[in-house]
Symmetry: none
Subunit: 409 residues, 2 copies
């Protein structure tokens, strides 16, 4: 039987006084989500473990059955994969900003005056042509505006190094420092500092910056790196479970996690990972993908954005819009396993991730349907799944889809 | 306080449309089981872990507190112990068929014309007398009809080898192959192939087969082995918990698990591990055994058989007959811990084991009795135990029986 796994990012919340001590989920009109709960078995889930506030990437890894404590080595690799960068096992990846610094390497603007993508691409290309570090290969990949990705490929690298991005204007570029005692971390920190200095030299004398200066624009004469990340090899999801899997998401991180696990990424027009994303187009793509895939992972980002904005009205609005789009898939509970959950809670009150468990509902044929009738944090806690962990979810889905084998005899 | 652990094999199920989307347990009249639930604390249990479909042997090991990932090395050893074969730690065990093959070693009949136990015993004895393999000891033990057990004793053996039984007539005897890269597996595969060839030679020229040929019967001129299994040493249950334990079961596998753990096996007339088993005689034996034992393990197989037959009416009938027999023991909740559960679910819809958690109820004096009044999968999920694992059960039973010690001070 085929499986749909719907993840509404940061969906879980805490009771909010202004809406009668209800959570945004509890205060929403959401007939599709309630239909999945009413026709399924419900519970709550600790994405990592009770009390652990999960980052989005490790939470997703756990939910797909990959222990993040074994394979999560920083977020950058997923961002890079999400942008389509050809990262490989063993690569060290950083997120990069082009920035403006003065002669003392004090940061004037962390975003180089929000440099346009054209200038930015030219400068990253220049770095690829001119920057050479003995013993390793160094690649820059442009992203949107001032953003990009740095990949260092070679032996003896470590992701246990600090950022050079001081995270505020007016401070100096930070020295990259080793974060543990290993030789690899010390060597990597030295490499990063050398790349930083060489990049400043190359960018300072570039044609692009000369033109920008003449136009009165801020020069993009330095790089700031953050989020060292190591690409740890894992087995592909199709090898692990025998399932052909695809991802429908807007945000690069989620596409990146999917690519990391060997899923196909279905590009959907209008899927942006923002409030304005075309939820209906995504659900339609999900329905179509069920023809060719055994597992379809459908991700919505907007609920998390509203939580991080501390905007519960916006969160309710997003829940209701997602719910409306989900109307197009709920009748598939007759022949598929439809799973609805979140990667973590993002309470509007704290505007960041919390460890509050997330609701989960699993509907489909031959399920021990419980008496939970609405998809809400506190009701789901009374459901037939009780409390599970992220790492339990895939085994349970494979079991109810009858895709798993006996352990022993 | 003494403990009774009642395991109804494969009892858990999924809702069935023809009986109003109830499970067989939910559709049964079962006042004894409900009495245990009503006077106990209830919950659901993943015998191994959420989403893991347990084989019967590893599930039982976990429920008795033995981690199957550490000690389960194939089912054959338990079957052999259940038949009373004197298997020892380190022994490699196979299930064996006497079979009929032609001159090209193509299997004519996997059961040698369902050879009688008399001929079969003589042939296995002949193999024990004549078959000699340097460096190891080889023992055959007759079972019922064409069935038996092969034990190989010696150093450097592995259970990671394939079957020689092709599982169908008309195919050749399979070569035994190593299933991992170890020297032990390679050596064991060679040994098994040599035993196979020697056995064919010895059986072909036997007096028994000469007579069978003259009587127009199929010759039992070959052996087919399957289910390589290694006897991994574990501490006895009485050493581990300080409890004198016994087993009341019909099926050889369950007696074998009990013997493996150092329990006494109480033989009960009429306990057959089939639909016709004498449930009342078993419950009476259980009550009597409470005089001499601290832990009595009482096993019923019939519920699993009905699940594997996909016959929910039969499953309901078996539940009600077992329940009727249990009437004789439920008043012991006044002075014993009476535990009722299953080793796994065997939903009638899929006719095999599933990972759906099983219900569990623990009754007795001084228990935190909850408000669950019936022993059913979905009601027990609302009970005071919440969701536990098989490995949790024995520690909980020892605690409520006040037989355990503080950890730390």
């Amino acid at each position: 039987m085929k499986i749909v796994l719907i993840i509404c990012d940061g969906l879980g919340d805490r009771p909010i006084k202004d809406i009668g001590f209800r959570t945004p989920l509890e205060a929403s009109r959401k007939p599709s989500m309630d239909f999945i709960a009413a026709n399924g078995i419900c519970g709550i889930m600790d994405p990592i473990a009770p009390g652990v506030r999960p980052g989005s990437a490790p939470a997703h890894l756990a939910i797909f059955g990959y222990n993040p404590y074994e394979c999560y080595r920083g977020r950058g690799v997923f961002e890079a994969l999400g942008l389509g960068v050809d990262v490989k096992p063993g690569d060290l990846t950083f997120r990069v900003n082009l920035a403006t610094v003065d002669g003392n390497l004090t940061v004037i603007d962390r975003r180089a005056g929000r440099i346009g993508s054209d200038d930015s691409s030219m400068l990253f290309r220049l770095l690829n042509e001119e920057l050479r570090i003995p013993g390793v290969e160094v690649y820059f990949y442009p992203g949107v505006e001032h953003r990009g990705v740095l990949v260092i490929r070679g032996e003896g690298l470590s992701w246990m190094v600090s950022d050079t991005d001081p995270e505020r204007d007016g401070a100096s570029i930070s020295m990259c420092r080793p974060l543990d005692e290993s030789i690899e971390a010390r060597r990597t920190a030295e490499l990063v500092n050398r790349i930083s200095i060489d990049a400043h030299r190359i960018l300072s004398k570039s044609e692009v910056n000369r033109r920008r200066a003449s136009e009165g624009k801020l020069q993009a004469n330095a790089i700031l790196v953050r989020g060292a990340s190591f690409y740890e090899h894992v087995s592909r999801i199709d090898e692990r479970y025998g399932l052909k899997a695809c991802c429908i998401a807007g945000g690069p991180l989620y596409k990146g996690v999917a690519r990391y696990l060997g899923m196909d990424v279905i590009e959907v027009k209008g899927a942006t990972g923002t409030y304005e994303s075309d939820f209906k187009a995504k659900v339609e793509a999900c329905t179509r993908s069920l023809e060719n895939y055994d597992l379809v992972y459908l991700h919505f980002k907007a609920t998390d954005l509203a939580g991080e904005d501390g905007n519960y009205r916006r969160k309710i609005e997003m829940i209701e819009r997602i719910d409306d789009a989900l109307y197009r898939i709920i009748d598939r509970v007759e022949d598929c396993i439809i799973t609805l959950t979140a990667d973590h809670s993002t309470p509007c009150s704290i505007r960041t991730h919390s460890a509050d468990p997330v609701p989960v509902a699993i509907a489909g044929p031959d399920i021990r349907v419980d008496d939970v009738g609405r998809f809400e944090e506190r009701l789901c806690a009374k459901g037939g799944l009780n409390r599970i962990r992220g790492l339990d979810l895939m085994p349970i889905l494979l079991d109810v889809a009858n895709l798993t084998h006996k352990y022993g005899a």
